[in-house]
Assembly symmetry: none
Homo-oligomer: 207 residues x 2
């Protein structure tokens, strides 16, 4: 009574959907998720999975599917801490992911730095060559000073807040260097630059 490949995909999709939305998908939503064009196929899968005791349902009731206790038991792995994620290893290293022992844990606290952290959403492509894109979220540590070459959010002449690399220049000047060949560095008097924060991390979310 084990799952077939397709049935496993079904269960994966289903449990992810419920986890994310808090309610059961309709047959049509399932069909879209599994790229099926007929509801009959979804129905067949449901029947098969119910027979195998992976799903429960109410007859003819909308969105009444639920994971059967059997599935829940077989699949409840480390629900430990929402902030800790198993760090399995490295890709392109020629080994299947499962094979890599789980010894490391990725903890979000590592990204957040001390207490003085804030976030911004990036607009524009001034740092694109450093692979910081429009729409990315960045975490910053609130500091007033930065070292040469660090990426900072700086306020120039009290008006523009920009993300740039910072360099000190002779004559008490400051150069704010974009990472975009199409853009020119900003060189201004140190008096007119106010550093707002130093880049700690870049976060990018997909879909």
């Amino acid at each position: 009574m084990a799952l077939t490949k397709r049935q496993k995909e079904f269960m994966d999709f289903f449990s992810n959907f419920v986890e994310e939305n808090g309610y059961c998908p309709s047959y049509e939503e399932i069909a879209r998720g599994l790229e099926l064009s007929s509801l009959a196929t979804v129905h067949k899968h449901v029947c098969a999975l119910e027979a195998k005791n992976y799903l429960r349902r109410g007859f003819n009731q909308s969105r009444s599917l639920e994971l059967a206790p059997r599935y829940v038991q077989e699949n409840r792995r480390g629900r430990s801490h929402p902030l800790e994620i198993p760090l399995l290893g490295r890709i392109a290293a020629g080994a299947p992911v499962e094979a890599v022992e789980q010894r490391d844990v990725l903890n979000f606290a590592d990204f957040a730095g001390s207490g003085n952290t804030f976030a911004l959403e990036v607009r524009g492509n001034s740092m694109i060559e450093d692979h910081i894109c429009d729409g990315d979220l960045i975490l910053l540590e609130r500091v007033a000073q930065a070292h040469d070459g660090e990426i900072v959010v700086a306020l120039v002449a009290g008006s523009d807040a920009t993300l740039k690399r910072i360099y000190r220049e002779p004559g008490d000047m400051i150069r704010l260097q974009p990472a975009n060949a199409a853009m020119r560095p900003i060189v201004v008097s140190a008096r007119d630059v106010q550093i707002q924060g130093r880049l700690l991390a870049v976060l990018r979310k997909y879909k």
Copy 2:
């Protein structure tokens, strides 16, 4: 006996209302909150949710609804510390950061997805044009199937795990497309490809 989409919205609204006000909403307040014009609809929802054991109530008594134990249990998850960071606004928008008075909060749970998440460290530059760099950490959702164009970690012929965009090709073939002009796509039979996860997020840490 799972919740439907609308019932979930009902429960969300109801529990938020109680949380904020400390008392139960009247049917009319519920109707306004869910943009319903008839109290009959509210009543129907209440009956359905009572039957499903998500709500309790006293017959004909005003504002006597309460969350049933079942709901409370299912929804008291990881209230530990979501690790929230203030999201202040956007840069390069021509305004100083402080000026943006935004109440938004960046929550790491938003990145971690459902419970089925794991992390990998990226090696190599095969996705560099998508701005995923050597050394970046990526979060993945464990799925067995992916849609065309999504970025996945795939195991090819049981040996290489790689991060690529996936596309289906005629003849039951799969094309794994790098984002790097110097590299060629991998085209193999669908049988020889095993998807390990779908990209949820990219994290990059500085210094």
